[in-house]
Amino acid sequence: MKVLLISNDAGGYAHHVEAPDNTTVQQMFERHVGAFHAESYLIRVNRQPAAADQLLRDGDRVSFTPQKIEGAA
């Protein structure tokens, strides 16, 4: 299946990735972003809050936005 993966960390990116069927949100994160810390990110599937063990489906839009993004002066 194909999923739109969006990371709003650092430079930010959004691209379509291939994923095996029954991939969970957590597996997607670990595969493409890094060690999974659910409490550190706003996780959204199709712009709705999602749990770590939610199964992804073909065409889903998954986004990870850090809870801490430091502004400056």
């Binding site: 960390d9 930010g12 959004a14 691209h15 712009r47 801490k68 993004i69 502004g71 400056a72 002066a73």
Partner: protein
């Protein structure tokens, strides 16, 4: 509801048009204008130099310098645009933007669209950082300028400004402008791709994060008072107000009047010309004779000690001399007695 959906879709179409208005052609024509300006001032400079007109040459040189600066900025901008285009990215569509707007309505307290001024506004929930209540904010995206840098404003709805920072409503917001910090690239990318939902979420998360290493005003100083004399921030319970003009000061910058024991700012306090004690301008009085300022203890019935002494000396001089009593000469009228 139906009207809201219709309005959201129309706004999405307009935003899409703004995003498509990449204006590469426009920016290249600006680039051409800049080159022409440089050539023009270069010709003027050469002409002025050949004719030995130093003032005109200096003026042309300054203007050439300015034109080259503008050219450099536009070149940098064009390079940035090229870089942005060459990155892999999602092509925004009106449908995608419409879905983004719909999702915003579920994520934020309030979402407002003002098509007449091409503005999409979301309202955050109340924000508290390190115990300092900053209230909720409006994030206003001006989609007409969506391709430009920082096309959005951040407005505090219940501003809790620190005393020491004018226009600061958040450690990272000054004059309604957010310093994006490490969120800068992600914001730019989200806007370029029409991912408005991500854009607003990123800005919201920046507002909920405190970076003590780079803040307009540190949260530790938020509830402090800025000393109007030295500029230092002091806790509000340690600040002192001038008893006359109410200017807020730190302890070091306030002066205690030795006469009334109240504290004053530099403007409202001075010192006695005689004893040198600190005194406020209300306690200091002018000597009726010399006009200098003295504390109450150095004035006697409106006159200072020096003037009193001078007066006494003058008085003494003016008094007529008393005739000396006659003194009998030694031995007068006495006869010597033989031993």
């Amino acid at each position: 509801m139906k009207n809201e959906i219709k309005q959201d879709y129309r706004a999405a179409v307009e935003m899409m048009q703004s995003l498509q208005h990449m204006s590469d052609a426009t920016s290249m024509s600006h680039f051409d204008d800049s080159i022409e300006q440089c050539k023009r001032w270069q010709r003027r400079l050469e002409m002025a130099t050949q004719r030995n007109w130093p003032t005109a040459a200096r003026d042309a040189s300054d203007r050439l310098h300015g034109a080259l600066d503008i050219l450099r900025m536009r070149a940098t901008h064009s390079i940035d645009n090229l870089k942005r285009q060459s990155r892999s990215h999602i092509e925004p569509t009106a449908t995608l933007i419409f879905q983004e707007i719909q999702a915003l309505r579920g994520e934020f307290d309030a979402v407002t669209i003002e098509r007449s001024i091409q503005r999409l506004t979301v309202t955050t929930s109340s924000i508290v950082l390190d115990g300092v209540l900053l209230g909720s904010f409006e994030i206003r995206l001006n989609w007409k300028y969506i391709k430009e840098s920082s096309p959005f404003d951040v407005i505090a709805l219940e501003p809790n400004e620190p005393a020491s920072g004018e226009g600061v409503t958040h450690p990272h917001v000054q004059s309604d402008s957010l310093c994006e910090g490490e969120g800068s690239d992600a914001i730019r990318r989200a806007l370029d791709e029409g991912r408005l939902y991500d854009f607003f979420c990123i800005v919201d998360q920046i507002l909920r994060t405190y970076n003590s290493g780079s803040a307009y005003v540190q949260l530790d100083d938020w509830n402090g008072v800025n000393c109007r004399s030295c500029g230092d921030t002091v806790d509000s319970d340690q600040a002192l107000a001038c008893s006359n003009c109410e200017t807020e000061l730190c302890m070091e910058c306030s002066t205690c009047c030795d006469s009334c024991c109240e504290r004053y700012c530099e403007e409202c306090a001075s010192s006695c010309e005689s004893c040198g004690d600190d005194a406020c301008k209300m306690c200091l009085k002018s000597c009726d004779d010399c006009g200098e300022s003295f504390c109450p203890s150095c004035l006697y019935e409106g006159t200072c000690d020096d003037c009193l002494n001078n007066e006494n000396a003058e008085n003494a001089k003016d008094e007529p001399e008393q005739p000396c009593p006659a003194v009998q000469p030694v031995c007068v009228g006495k006869a010597s007695v033989p031993a």
